[in-house]
């Protein structure tokens, strides 16, 4: 069996990131992946250190910029299983533009956002998902900006796989992750994760009490219903795969990739360069 080791981490003992890392390892192992086939990417942040803590190829890039690197790596070599793990600040704040536009691109990667509703690594400022009224070192009077609804944003931007997990529900999270990794396109999962050090509002107990898995018979193919659910009109936060749609991914639509040969292995036809040069004569 393939094995994904965990290395020593720099996370706080008790941090929700540990369970997310565990679920990820289990998911990869259950999918029968080998470490060298997998490329893990992150930006900068506590969550974004995940690629350093698991035995796989790793790419810890710039804050907010994991997605463009990830989709391009997948474009370069579709044989890689490409997974991004990053924080809510990284993914929705600094990286917000890449989030909405890579949904449009629909490259076959999985994106796991460790959403602790706070900036962890920089020690406790509001993130885009921090609740209104939440007092921090910077938001001294309580956050006055309406929190982003990432589920709704992803749906509105046209994502084909939209799910929500909770670090405290390993079984469900592992199942979601497996489905996301196997989904042929951009698969997005927002994972609620307690930050025990800097978020004293959205604690483990808070999430534990707030979440409710979607019913077994929930039909994730109805977009309008998914948006209704994502709007959060119900009193519990639904977890599970909220929306799933089958549609061609970037590779299937791109003339250079649709034949299935990885870009980096494609040889240029002989004479092409001469022809190009000749076209200027």
């Amino acid at each position: 069996m393939s094995e994904f080791k965990t290395y020593e981490t720099a996370w706080c003992p008790g941090c929700g990131n540990f369970s997310i890392l565990n679920s990820l390892k289990t998911a990869l192992e259950e999918l029968g992946k080998s470490p060298h086939e997998v490329l893990m990417l992150g930006g900068i942040g506590q969550a974004a250190k995940t690629p350093q803590y698991i035995s796989a190829n790793s790419f810890c890039g710039l804050h907010g910029r994991a997605l463009p690197a990830a989709v391009a790596a997948k474009i370069a070599n579709e044989d890689l299983t490409v997974i991004v793990n990053s924080g809510d600040g990284d993914s929705y704040g600094e990286g917000g533009n890449h989030f909405i536009h890579n949904i449009r691109r629909n490259v076959n990667i999985a994106h796991f956002v460790h959403d602790n509703q706070i900036y962890g690594l920089t020690k406790g400022q509001a993130s885009p998902t921090t609740a209104e009224g939440h007092v921090t070192v910077v938001q001294t009077e309580g956050n006055i900006n309406a929190p982003l609804n990432p589920m709704l944003l992803a749906l509105a931007s046209g994502a084909g796989f939209v799910a929500r997990g909770f670090s405290g529900d390993a079984k469900q999270l592992t199942a979601i992750m497996k489905a996301a990794i196997e989904y042929p396109g951009y698969a997005y999962v927002d994972i609620m994760q307690p930050c025990i050090t800097f978020n004293k509002i959205n604690t483990f107990a808070y999430y534990k009490n707030a979440v409710k898995p979607l019913p077994e018979d929930y039909d994730p193919s109805d977009k309008l219903e998914a948006m209704r659910i994502a709007m959060g009109l119900d009193d519990k936060i639904p977890t599970g795969i909220i929306y799933r749609e089958d549609k061609p991914d970037f590779h299937k639509k791109h003339v250079l990739l649709k034949d299935g040969k990885p870009l980096l292995d494609q040889e240029r036809d002989k004479g092409v360069l001469d022809n190009l040069i000749h076209s200027f004569i």
């Binding site: 190829n57 790793s58 790419f59 710039l62 989709v71 997948k74 890449h98 536009h101 092409v272 200027f280």
Partner: protein, 555 residues
Amino acid sequence: MYNILVGGAAGQGIDTTVSILEKLLKRSGYYIFTTRDFMSRVRGGHNFSLLRFGTEEITSHSYILDGIIALNEETIELHKDKLNKKGFILCDSSLEYSDPDLNIIKIPMTQIAKELGNIRASGSVAVGAVLKLFGEPFSYVEEVMTSQMKDKILEVNVKAADAGYKSVESLFEHLEGGFSDYMLISGSEALGLGAVAGGLKFYAAYPMSPSTAVLEYLASVGNSAKVLVEQAEDEIAAVNMALGASFAGARAMTGTSGGGFCLKVEALGFSGIAEIPLVVVDVQRPGPATGLPTRTEQSDLKFVVSASQGEFPRMVIALRTQEDAFYQTARALNLAEKYQIPIILLSDQYLGDTTACVKPYDVSKISMVNYDTETEGDYLRYRLTEDGISKRLIPGKTKHLVAADSDEHDERGWITESATVRNQMVEKRMKKLDGLCDELLEPEFMGAENCTTLLLGWGSLSGPLKEAVQTLNRNGGSYGALVFGDIYPLPQKQLKKYTEGRTLINVEQNATGQLASLIRGETGIACHDSILKYDGRQITGEEIVAQLLEGGQKS
């Protein structure tokens, strides 16, 4: 040598007319050099192209005209003073402009085109007329037009050219040149083609004048050349895509102009510390900020040599000519791979949009370098080595695991806070410069070996400087010029050899003399005087000559 100006408003078809004319003239043997001067708008305003052609190499545009093809009256007003005594003005009969001192040739272009059933063919009437005016045969028209336009409009355009041809008498005689087998290519196309030749697999960019020409050229050949061209949502995405692709094994490049370069600066340092090969093209235009979007300047040099926080090895190559643009781009991609560093290619609007004749590129001159494919035993991505270069494996193409990290890291690529490892890694990275410095290309020297005045320049001023030095020396001057292509790290051998005891004048297309300042910072050598131009229009060889002879340059 002849020089004609085609001018009018944006949207009047100057580009098409000029592009057919230059191809026809090359086909008939001329050396071609065509520059483009246009405004940042899609319709209206005033644009023009200068088409210079002759039987020897031409390296600069010139404002001394043999003819003006005026698509509107404004063109005549603005440019008539630049006409030679023998010069003509060709325009549509509908223009009311008249001046007994000028040789104005009016032909009913629009009417002819209308009669032929396609008003847009009026440019072809002008093409035909120009051919005749310069004593050219009509024979290549059909061949060249076939390569330039869709079948269904071919016939009417050929007819229009024929009508134009018949409507005037010859004024100049045909000169016999040997350039019909040369390429006719713009700097930006040459850059794109060089990238293809250098093994490019992935190009990501966000549109920005004047760099868009590179994006569009690569997009046009991507399918056949197997280069995946992706338009990014912004420049930050573009450069981070290039890094992701490069890390994953697809040779990658990104291109932009000043403002977009700003947004790629953070990623330069990431390429530096994570040792991911990256080539970034900056096609310069006048700044600051939005500045003059469609014009030219050389004012990003100091910016790009030190862009991004912290310290890491990098290389900056200034492209001088349509030849450089090809070979140096191919070389840059391979040096980036070899040293695992970011390389910046500096072009500018003048070079990028100017078409010139060049000898067909010889692909065998390019030395290709590839990433490593496998390694025995333990693999350390950032292994400390003699020359600072560690084996670069590609994730998924080996059983080993490959890491990249924008934090300081150890030999495996894992985050470290160790002072010792930090020192080792800084030194490892900087050591790569030793190897790189050994293979720097010295600046090109042109002119008289024993000159008394040495002009210093870089990039696209190469051509105007070449013409200036030739003119000056032909008239008894004692001038030389050193023109930098590789510019950072600064090659110093020729500099030390040629500057000693000479009057040094830097000639630059900027306001502060950035090359002079770089040279002084790196070598202590100070220029005595400078010729600086920063109005967005490239200086001509003739203007350099005039400024030197009048001694009016600023110091």
